[in-house]
């Protein structure tokens, strides 16, 4: 079986410390998966390995069936993986306007001028920030900045969107609005999602399945129902229960 992403036996060390050891994770086409785990267990690193920002010493990462990283060698650079990422601090370029942020974000695609303009405007419209196109990120509210980051990510038409706790600083109403929007865009555009989070609220409505990372390896992966019934980890159980309570509620 070859999914959208397939990690096998990934070992990764950072600053002399083993962060991932023998991690396996599979994400199917257009699947949305929540990646949970205790703080510092390697969730962000796994996302960075999938994105190609970190090269693991051992193991293999397949993207769409093609080897992207294998045994410490980068075979497909980050920008050719069709993976976008929403960073924890959003990583908006502060000196550029919203429009320019998105434009620089798709500069790697080398689209002709007109096409690029259309794509940017479409995406801004889709994210509801077309009227903010000439503003700089520093002058926007937190929620607006999230949308800009989302627009920049989606403008490259990714097959997979990596979300690294990007909604942490938002109030509940804005957060839920954002989540609804992401879910809507996902069903409209058909990309997969890996969402790193600590918050069941974020998972609800966006993800269908759960992967639990513990001590650098995935200890379980499956639908909420599967995990709730046969959970091997405390965290998995707690998460699935919280989700179920929410669904029933």
């Amino acid at each position: 079986m070859s999914g959208l992403v397939m990690c096998t036996g990934v070992d990764c060390r950072l600053g002399g410390r083993s962060v991932l050891s023998g991690t396996d994770l599979t994400v199917a086409e257009a699947e949305s998966i929540a990646l949970v785990g205790t703080s510092g267990c390697g969730k962000s690193t796994l996302l960075r390995v999938i994105a190609g920002l970190e090269i693991p010493e051992a193991g293999e990462v397949l993207i769409g069936g093609t080897p992207a990283t294998r045994d410490g060698r980068l075979l497909v650079p980050p920008h050719r993986r069709r993976i976008a990422m929403l960073f924890q601090d959003l990583a908006l370029w502060p000196n550029l306007s919203v429009y320019e942020n998105v434009r620089l974000g798709i500069s790697g695609l080398r689209l002709p001028g007109k096409q690029s303009r259309e794509r940017i405007e479409q995406t801004l419209e889709l994210c509801g920030i077309l009227d903010l196109a000439n503003r700089r990120p520093g002058t926007l509210s937190g929620g607006q900045q999230q949308r800009v980051a989302l627009a920049r990510a989606l403008a490259m038409h990714p097959k997979l969107l990596l979300l690294d706790e990007p909604l942490g600083g938002l109030d509940l109403v804005t957060k839920q609005g954002m989540l609804r929007e992401i879910a809507g865009l996902k069903s409209e555009l058909g990309f997969g999602i890996i969402l790193v989070t600590h918050d069941p609220v974020e998972v609800y409505g966006v993800c269908q399945s759960l992967a639990v990372l513990q001590d650098g390896r995935i200890v379980e992966q499956g639908s909420f129902e599967q995990i709730r019934t046969s959970a091997r980890s405390e965290l998995g159980k707690a998460f699935a229960t919280a989700m179920q309570g929410r669904c029933e509620g």
Binding site: E54, L74, H79, D89, A91, N95
Partner: protein, 518 residues
């Protein structure tokens, strides 16, 4: 967390930093190599040199301790409390560092000639040197402590305040900024090793004086070279362990990012104390020596002649210092960007550069003029022109620019680069569109800083200036001996006003940038 699995990139970065470091070392190499290779009739490690070394070491320790004892508390008070005139008072604390070291010395020694100031103790010998050089070094730990306090979060400070009041706040911030301030004070001590003015004017023994004697009385360049080598070696020996122990502190100080910065607190007693301390430090650090320098100008102003001189030398001064600023900051930006992901590389670069800063400037200048003589005339554009001074001065102040730029690069989020990589933005485009524009305020401020420092480095300019081009500080220096005190004082005054102006401009740049960005 940043990418460090990419071996080739890491190797490339080490190469780049290595090249810049080699370039920085290049000017002092000719004399050092002569010193190492050639047999000399005279031994270096004589009793006199040992004595001078010992005296210099004590001088360094004295200057560092003095600067730390004054600079650290001042820096904490400035960072933590609100008081009237806070911004200018903080800004002008930098002044003593930006003047040529002989100016305050002369100012102080002039002061006691004034009848109504004759009660001031006469500065003399070792203690005089420690006092004047220490005052000049105070800005270093002051700004280090101030900057380190900026890295504390407001909640940390609030927690300390709730827990034990101002005493706990001061204790917390002293602990947080102590290491950075200590390192800065140490740098001040190292810099004082190569300072000539104070030991010369107040009559104290120092290695710099020994080296000067070898140069100017014995005309023994090899001996001088070997003495410099010794000095550099000892500085390295002393500083490397300290630097490596302070690795984490320095790395975090240079790379710190904050969530919610400390806001100066309104506390009437501490505010008043802070105001008083900063004001007093300005009066003693810059006010009194300036008064000493300028009193003769009040008695006998020769501003007209002074302006004439300034006018004649302004262009050259700008070319020398501006060029040096640009060279230093370009290289520093390169080093800072290359070493952004690797704290070990940053440290090695800093250690090498800082030990170079301790070398007497004459080393490089004499070495370069020797190379120039050996080189074919076709290379004169490089070895015997204004470009030579620009390069030598730029390389000399590369360490200062490097620290400033490392801090600026450290304040950028690493995820900007990650986002660029994911989106396929080419490194060049990333540099041009995102990194350089965001570094621009720091770049401009660093250029101005290096300009002021380079202007104060008289030895290099004096020994390398092509015939017919004279810079203002060198002009002051050459008219100092037997010209009318009024003229000298007027020139010094104009110079001081110029430095204050530069400082004001530099302080406004980040603000202007922010306003433009908004």
């Amino acid at each position: 967390m940043t990418l460090n699995g990419h071996n080739t990139r890491a190797i490339l970065r080490w190469w780049l930093v290595g090249c810049v470091l080699c370039l920085a070392i290049a000017p002092v190499l000719p004399l050092l190599s002569v010193a190492l290779v050639q047999e000399s009739a005279r031994p270096v490690w004589t009793a006199a040199f040992r004595g001078a070394m010992l005296s210099s070491s004590w001088l360094g320790v004295g200057v560092s301790s003095f600067a730390l004892l004054i600079g650290l508390p001042l820096g904490l008070l400035a960072a933590l409390y609100r008081f009237p005139g806070r911004r200018p008072l903080i800004l002008f604390q930098a002044l003593p560092l930006l003047l040529p070291s002989f100016l305050p010395c002369i100012g102080w020694s002039n002061l006691t000639t004034v009848r109504w100031l004759s009660w001031l103790p006469i500065l003399d010998g070792f203690s005089g040197c420690v006092f004047v050089l220490g005052l000049q070094a105070v800005p270093l730990p002051f700004f280090a402590a101030w900057a380190a306090c900026q890295n504390l979060t407001a909640s940390q400070v609030d927690a300390a305040r709730l827990h034990g009041g101002e005493r706990d706040v001061l204790a917390l911030s002293a602990r947080a900024s102590g290491p950075a301030a200590f390192l800065a004070a140490l740098l001040g001590g190292i810099l004082s090793l190569s300072s000539l003015g104070a030991p010369l004017i107040f009559g104290a023994r120092s290695v710099a004086m020994e080296i000067r004697t070898s140069f100017s009385a014995l005309f023994d360049f090899e001996l001088a070279g070997r003495q410099c080598l010794f000095l550099g070696g000892i500085v390295l020996l002393l500083t490397w362990p300290i630097l490596f122990i302070g690795l984490r502190t320095l790395a975090s100080a240079v790379l710190a990012r904050q969530t919610r910065p400390v806001v100066p607190y309104h506390h009437s007693l501490m505010g008043r104390l802070a105001f008083g301390a900063l004001f007093l430090s300005l009066v003693i650090g810059i006010g009194l020596p300036t008064l000493g320098l300028c009193l003769p100008a009040v008695r006998n102003p020769m501003l007209g002649r002074a302006f004439q001189k300034v006018w004649a030398t302004a262009g050259t001064t700008l070319v020398f210092t501006g060029g040096a600023g640009v060279v230093a900051v370009m290289l520093a930006t390169l080093v800072a960007l290359a070493a952004a992901a690797d704290s070990r590389m940053r440290l090695v670069a800093l250690a090498v550069l800082l030990s170079l800063l301790a070398m007497p400037p004459a080393m490089a200048a004499i070495g370069v003029s020797r190379v120039a003589t050996e080189a074919p005339p076709q290379l004169d554009w490089l070895t015997r022109s204004q470009l030579t001074i620009v390069l030598v001065l730029g390389l000399r102040f590369l360490p200062v620019a490097a620290v400033a730029m490392m801090r600026a690069v450290g304040s950028m989020s690493p995820s900007w680069i990650d986002a660029g990589r994911i989106h396929g933005v080419t490194p060049f485009r990333m540099l041009r569109r995102v990194i350089l524009p965001n570094l621009m305020p720091a770049i401009v401020v660093s250029v101005l800083l290096v300009m002021v420092l380079a202007a104060a480095d008289i030895t290099t300019t004096h020994l390398l200036q092509p015939p017919g081009s004279q810079s203002l500080p060198v002009a002051i220096f050459t008219v100092m001996a037997n010209s009318h005190e009024g003229l000298v004082a007027s020139l010094c005054l104009i110079y001081l006003v110029g430095v204050v102006g530069m400082l004001l401009i530099a302080s406004q740049i980040p603000r202007l940038w922010q306003r433009r960005a908004a």
